[in-house]
């Protein structure tokens, strides 16, 4: 049972494109997800302005019970903050992947503080998870405050399509946080090596995709009136 040094490493299979199968598959998965979110976003846009009852996203509306004028429900400043946090998480994701890929590069004798920061995959994975979780926290706050203002998923077309669209996105962020959390746990346990970089790479592709989808949602749902 004479093992060579890398006998436990994933076998280096020849592939037609030179890319790993997992990388090809994640790109197709992302293509499929594009159609998923395209269907959700189109439905939201088709139903925009067709509500028979408030609350409404951008318009002032009158509460039929009280006769009171109610303000538009979307809070753009607050959501801009959570959007910024989510976008920054893509930056830390890039840093995490780079740190894993460069794990084997020679370490200086007295590494500077910033060198250590730059090359800590644990730190960057943790930051990414933390910012993803922060985004989810903002979303939870937004959902609860909407419900308090009378907007439920049953209330009107806006409620149904808004909660479903942003809820699906939130579910994707949640899956991403769990995924990256699992990678972080492995990193803490045994340290991610350059040969594991592909796992981080496909998680990163997924994470960036979820980010890009949010840019579309934020623009189409929040910014454009």
């Amino acid at each position: 049972m004479a093992h060579t040094a890398d006998s436990h490493a994933p076998q280096h299979h020849y592939t037609t494109t030179g890319l790993d199968n997992r990388k090809v598959a994640i790109w197709m998965f992302i293509g499929s997800e594009c159609m998923l979110f395209a269907s959700l976003i189109s439905t939201y846009l088709i139903y925009k302005g067709k509500n028979v009852v408030g609350p409404l996203p951008h318009e002032v509306w009158t509460n039929p019970q009280t006769g009171q004028a109610m303000k538009a429900i979307l809070n753009i400043p607050i959501t801009s903050i959570s959007t910024f946090v989510l976008l920054m998480s893509s930056f830390s994701m890039v840093m995490a992947l780079a740190a894993v890929e460069n794990r084997n590069k020679p370490r200086p004798a007295n590494p500077a503080f910033w060198w250590k920061v730059e090359n800590s995959s644990k730190l960057w994975l943790f930051m990414t998870c933390l910012m993803g979780a922060t985004f989810l926290g903002f979303q939870a706050y937004e959902f609860t405050s909407f419900v308090h203002e009378g907007l439920t998923i049953r209330r009107n077309l806006f409620g149904s399509s808004f909660f479903t669209l942003t809820g699906f996105h939130g579910a994707h962020v949640t899956a991403g946080v769990i995924w990256l959390g699992t990678l972080l746990a492995i990193d803490m346990k045994r340290g991610l090596q350059p040969k594991d970089a592909l796992w981080v790479d496909i998680a990163a592709l997924y994470w960036h995709f979820v980010d890009v989808v949010w840019i579309a949602i934020f623009t189409l749902v929040y910014l454009i009136q």
Binding site: M1, A2, H3, S7, H8, Q11, H12, H13, Y14, T15, T16, T17, G18, L19, N21, V24, A25, M28, F29, G31, S32, E33, M35, L36, S39, L40, T43, I46, Y47, K50, N51, V52, V53, I153, R154, N156, L157, G159, S160, S161, T164
Partner: protein
């Protein structure tokens, strides 16, 4: 490689025997293909029995065999079964069995995901079928139009089983599509360039893209319907201002590509069968490939021709009418290419060939009747009549099923090492052909005389009696035809004539290895220099005008140095195109094979339990539903974690 002649001929012993655990834990694409084939043929019987009961009801006016409620369940389940549980999985059986063999790979890209796809399909099929025994089967049509299928008009559990069942089956189809598309993109043998791939693999490739891009749309449409039914959302609630056509648009954006998902694999199969029995290369290979791609592409732009009767307005009607007529061009191109493939060839009328020719003829009839309702004014006379039923049975039975039968007769020897009986096959072909035309041709007339679809009974004196009688007799004749096939199929596995490696003198890679293939498929990965690598060896005279080059081979060498390691360790793993008749074990050859595992089955079972909790919740048994969610969720997460953390192969020494 060592000597070739010494080992005993495997094919004389027939197919190897497997125990139940071999099947439950298999990750071998060929065995998974066999599982798909048998399961889909079982559901073919289920869907056929549903059809025969309907035809018995309609054999004469005022039939009283079944109630209107049962009839609704029958036509809904017949459509759903044939589309999702029969034709798609029969195609999947061939994807599984053939794609790796045709491109010179040792397995699919993700063997365990492949097993998972099968188990999810099986569980989803049972989930949607079993309710029929409790008089609770889906009853809103296979297209499930809202608002009929919303909670207001379909309060019972019936449509829950449809919504959730299609969702489960979508998981299976998507997982399989990512897998096969990755396999085709990334696991081709050196020299197997895209434009050298067998046409079946090409059509399968197009189909995987259709699944990848069309299924998410139905997933969302189903989520909306599920939310409307379970949580009271307003997606299809017209009283809340919802668009009454939203479901129809979303459904057909998926539903029309789905039509090509059903037919393109059959097109691929006959594109393998026709050249083999015409002893000629396929006429216009590149054009056949391009037209397949074009059909797939245009397939996303014609969905609203299913909705001409809803009043979309003249512009939408015109655009969708035109795109629909446009799609007849690439389809017609294929038909002519097949005819020109036979032209001047020395034809052998085997059973497979007969079925392939039947596809050309019958699909053409269905295609022409399709053109007649591509034009909105004409369609308004035909929509929702039996004329439409005749049309889509000509394309799906006359097209897809005929092509799949051609594929079964053609590839049976590769699957089991024995041929199916040709005499019984001929009987099956003619009985089936006559029964098919007797059933569906009169429906054109019944439809033109105004007989609507989906009615459970009709009055005498409207001129429909004779046509319905003929259709019913035809349907009854299909049963003995299928029984003949089933008998031939089961018998030939054990007692059929021993086939040898290449019984039909075919041209593609799958015929260069033993029948049935060893678990590793190729002891040495062949280096391909043309579209018909086997004929390069056996019939060079047929290869005039077929381009040859070393394209792709240099690239493979450049990337991996001198040692081209296609899935193995040795330089000897790759060899110029050759015939393999020696059969060793993977261990003897040092080829790493994925270990069998039962985890994908348990993950699929977790998904089944999760989805099953929702009808329980719908029945207001929340405690049981939460328990089921906890159990299903735990199974899903636990076994998925175990699956992902277990290496696929043993480390090699």
């Amino acid at each position: 490689m060592a000597t070739v002649a010494a080992s005993p001929s495997y094919t004389t012993t027939g197919a190897p025997r497997y125990g139940i655990m071999d099947w439950l834990t298999t990750v071998d694409h060929k065995k998974i293909g066999t599982l798909y084939l048998h399961t889909a043929l079982f559901f073919f019987v289920v869907g056929g029995v549903e059809a025969i009961i309907m035809r018995a009801q309609l054999i004469g006016p005022n039939g009283k065999l079944v109630s209107a409620e049962v009839f609704n369940q029958l036509f809904t389940m017949h459509g759903t079964t044939m589309v999702f549980l029969v034709i798609m999985p029969l195609s999947a059986a061939f994807f599984n069995f053939l794609i790796p063999l045709q491109i010179g790979a040792r397995d699919v890209a993700f063997p365990r995901l492949n097993a998972f796809s099968y188990w999810v399909y099986l569980f989803g099929g049972l989930f949607i079928t079993v309710p029929i025994f409790f008089n609770a089967a889906p009853d809103g049509g296979w297209f499930a139009y809202t608002p009929l299928t919303g909670r207001e008009y379909s309060l019972g559990q019936n449509m829950n089983f449809w919504v959730l069942g299609i969702q489960i089956l979508g998981i299976s189809s998507l997982a399989a599509a990512f897998n096969f598309a990755t396999t085709i993109i990334n696991m081709r043998a050196p020299g197997m360039t895209l434009m050298r791939m067998p046409v079946f693999t090409w059509m399968s490739f197009v189909v995987q893209w259709l699944i990848i891009l069309a299924f998410p749309v139905i997933t969302i449409a189903l989520f909306f319907l599920q939310f409307d039914r379970f949580f009271g959302t307003n997606f299809y609630a017209v009283s809340a201002g919802a668009d009454p056509l939203l479901w129809q648009h979303l459904f057909w954006v998926f539903g029309h590509p789905e039509v090509y998902i059903l037919i393109l694999p059959a097109f691929g199969l006959v594109s393998e069968v026709l050249p083999t029995y015409s002893k000629k290369p396929l006429f216009g290979y590149a054009v056949v490939v391009y037209s397949g791609i074009l059909i797939g592409f245009l397939g996303f732009g014609v969905w609203a021709h299913h909705m001409f009767a809803v009043g979309m307005g003249p512009i939408a009607d015109t655009v969708f009418g035109l795109t629909t007529m446009l799609i007849a061009i690439p389809t017609g191109v294929k038909i002519f290419n097949w005819i020109f493939t036979m032209w001047g060839g020395s034809l052998r009328f085997t059973t497979a060939m007969k079925f392939a020719i039947a596809l050309i003829a019958m699909f053409t009839i269905g295609g022409i009747s399709g053109i007649t309702h591509a034009s909105p004014p004409s369609d308004l006379q035909q929509t929702d009549t039996y004329y439409i039923v005749a049309h889509f049975h000509y394309v799906l039975y006359g097209g897809a099923i005929m092509g799949i039968f051609a594929g079964i007769y053609h590839y049976f020897p590769k699957m089991y090492g024995r041929k199916m009986d040709e005499r019984l096959g001929t009987w099956h072909f003619w009985l089936n052909f006559i029964a098919f035309n007797l059933t569906f041709f009169p429906m054109h007339y019944a439809g033109m005389l105004g007989m609507p679809r989906r009615i459970y009974t009709y009055d005498a004196g409207q001129g429909w009696e004779t046509f319905n009688l003929l259709s019913s007799l035809g349907a009854f004749l299909m049963a003995p035809a299928f029984l003949l096939f089933a008998y031939n199929f089961m018998r030939s596995k054990k007692r059929g004539e021993v086939a040898g490696d290449n019984p039909w003198d075919a041209a593609t890679l799958e015929w260069s290895i033993p029948s049935p293939p060893p678990e590793y498929n190729f002891a040495q990965i062949p280096m391909v220099t043309s579209r018909y690598p086997m004929w390069d060896l056996t019939h060079p005279e047929r290869m005039e005008g077929v381009p040859h080059s070393m394209e792709g081979w240099d690239e493979a060498k450049r990337r991996t140095g001198e040692h081209v390691t296609t899935g193995g360790k040795h330089e000897a793993d790759v060899a110029p195109m050759h015939i393999e008749s020696e059969r060793k074990t993977a261990k003897e050859l040092g080829i790493p094979m994925p270990n069998p595992t039962i985890k994908p089955l348990w993950v699929a079972a977790g998904i089944l339990i999760l989805f099953s909790s929702l009808p329980v919740m719908y029945a207001d048994k929340n405690a049981i539903a939460y328990l089921m969610m906890a159990v299903g969720g735990t199974m899903f997460v636990g076994f998925l974690y175990a699956w992902l953390t277990t290496p696929m192969e043993d480390p090699h020494h």
